[in-house]
């Protein structure tokens, strides 16, 4: 199956009830598959007039207590920062799948890793979001399911960050019912439109999203930040290999981490001390793990299909450890193992 098809099936398996979306390449097939599956499984869908509306209708559905999700890419991701901001501010368990394409602006419809900054820190907030960067179809499936649970448990907007290659390519994977694997799906709860009579069974719910005084907002943001930091260690994820004695550490995320790993293995086979670190959660970034993995390396190489967006996150995490960081930056272009190997040879 293609990555987009996998996403649709994963959302179904996760118990998603309604999807809102707007066409933009390369994620359209998520909607194509969802709209075909939905009537058979009693789920809903609305194609909205644009991404802004897709994001806000999703916010509304979540407020009404439905497991709702959306998907977008590129310029659509830019437009959705407005509703994502509402989700951040009002702590709505939003799940959005992002299939990155070339940017800025219309760029290409094909592929990139250039929406990292946007997805991790977009909008006019503090990046209190959860971002999973997947590298293959199995992970697209696993993390859509996990993403719903993370979102509904911790109530920070949650993103599955894929890309146009993952969206369109075919590779093997295994689908499953979460229950079969002992994964319990968190049940959604409504914030408004609650059952019962106002005055008798319950009070009216008034959801505020704007504050009169600076201090009021300050308190809110501080509270969110404290909850975010408390949650972070429980959901940070990463993978790493050969880091214990690495002299050069290669850092890559998403699909590029596969080529990076191939490159590292090639050099390891030659006896070279090269390590591989792959953050899976870009937000919250696996800070402690990276510090530890990078401890012995004398140089770092960040490999990404962008111009330093991953590197920017890495630098923030390694601020206290002064270390030369080089970048293999290929904005909007796929990266192959041999390019990484060639670059590493100049560094060893």
């Amino acid at each position: 199956m293609t990555g987009n098809e996998v996403v649709a099936w994963a959302a179904l398996a996760a118990g998603a009830e309604i999807m809102f979306g707007y066409p933009i390449t390369p994620q359209n097939e998520i909607m194509h598959y969802w709209t075909r599956l939905a009537p058979k499984y009693n789920r809903k869908f609305l194609q909205t007039e644009d991404e802004i509306s897709a994001g806000f209708t999703t916010c509304g559905a979540i407020q009404a207590g439905r497991k709702a999700f959306t998907a977008t890419a590129g310029p659509g991701n830019v437009l959705m920062q407005e509703p994502f901001g509402m989700a951040e501010a009002m702590r709505l368990p939003m799940l959005a799948i992002i299939q990155q394409r070339g940017g800025p602006s219309s760029g290409t419809v094909v592929y990139s890793q250039q929406e990292v900054t946007l997805t991790t820190y977009g909008g006019n907030g503090e990046g209190h979001r959860i971002v999973y960067s997947t590298a293959n179809h199995q992970e697209l499936y696993d993390y859509v399911i996990k993403g719903f649970n993370t979102a509904w448990k911790y109530r920070f907007p949650t993103f599955v960050l894929g890309d146009g290659y993952q969206a369109k390519m075919r590779e093997p994977m295994t689908m499953y019912d979460p229950a079969e694997r002992g994964i319990e799906m968190v049940a959604p709860q409504p914030l408004i439109g609650l059952p019962g009579q106002i005055g008798k069974d319950r009070e009216a719910q008034h959801l505020c999203n704007i504050y009169s005084l600076e201090e009021e907002l300050y308190d809110v943001v501080q509270r969110f930040d404290a909850e975010y930091r408390q949650m972070a260690p429980m959901i940070e994820e990463h993978q790493q290999l050969h880091c214990e004695d690495a002299e050069v550490l290669v850092i890559a995320h998403g699909v590029v981490s596969r080529a990076a790993l191939d490159a590292v293995e090639i050099l390891q086979a030659e006896g070279k001390k090269v390590g591989w670190f792959r953050p899976i959660t870009l937000r919250p970034f696996p800070h402690a793990a990276l510090e530890k993995a990078a401890a012995r390396a004398s140089q770092l190489l960040v490999v990404e299909s962008a111009m330093g967006q991953l590197a920017r996150l890495v630098k923030e995490e390694l601020f206290m450890q002064c270390r030369p960081i080089q970048g293999l930056y290929r904005p909007a272009v796929g990266i192959m193992a041999d390019e990484v190997v060639a670059k590493l040879r100049t560094m060893i």
Binding site: V109, V110, Y111, Y165, Q166, K168, M169, R170, E171, P172, V255, V256, R258, A259, L261, D262, G334, I335, M336, A337, D338, E339
Partner: protein
């Protein structure tokens, strides 16, 4: 062949069936227990514009879905021939359809490759077989060049995928299988 990854890139104009060839090849490999990946790559246009299919087949999990240098390149239009220069290397076998020879200019065909050959797939599909099985002829040629799956493997997969259509119209099955065989033949003959 353990560890070897076959990289096949097929390119042509939108509508020529490039993606069908690539997709089928990857699926056949997967059904035969290999690791495979298929990545479509196309321009903005639904129709028109160069369409490329990147297929990788190997024993181990495939790394990057995209690759630079292909083991086999099949280019089905003049524009595709020019576009595919960036995907050839000294070990690449470069295949094109003879029908586009007139449209090619000096320097269009790559020289830094292992081998260049043209197959008369379009002609065969028009004169001998059926225009609809042009894809299958090309697929047969790829089989002969890579040996990554056998003719029997492909026939098994086609029977599974198109079994219903074949049972409705047995001549169709025969046509497809003959097309595959013809493609293989073309490569074997060109080698002589």
């Amino acid at each position: 062949m353990a560890g070897k990854v076959w990289r096949v890139a097929i390119a042509g104009e939108g509508g020529q069936g490039v993606q069908v060839i690539g997709d089928t090849l990857a699926e056949v490999a997967y059904d035969e227990g290999k690791e495979s990946s298929y990545l479509p790559n196309f321009g903005l246009e639904q129709r028109g514009g160069v369409s490329i299919a990147f297929v990788q087949i190997g024993e181990d999990e495939i790394g990057s879905p995209k690759f630079k240098v292909a083991d086999v390149v099949v280019a089905l239009s003049a524009r595709a021939v020019r576009r595919m220069h960036m995907h050839v290397g000294p070990e690449t076998v470069f295949v094109y359809d003879c029908s586009i020879a007139d449209e090619l200019e000096a320097g269009d065909l790559p020289t830094n490759v292992k081998r260049v050959l043209c197959i008369k797939a379009l002609q065969a599909s028009k004169e001998e077989l059926d225009p609809r099985v042009f894809n299958m002829i090309v697929l047969g040629a790829i089989l002969a060049l890579t040996g990554v799956v056998t003719l029997e493997d492909i026939q098994k997969v086609l029977d599974k995928k198109l079994g219903y259509k074949f049972s409705q119209n047995p001549a169709l099955r025969d046509l497809n299988f003959r097309a595959l065989h013809r493609g293989m033949e073309m490569v074997e003959q060109a080698a002589q």
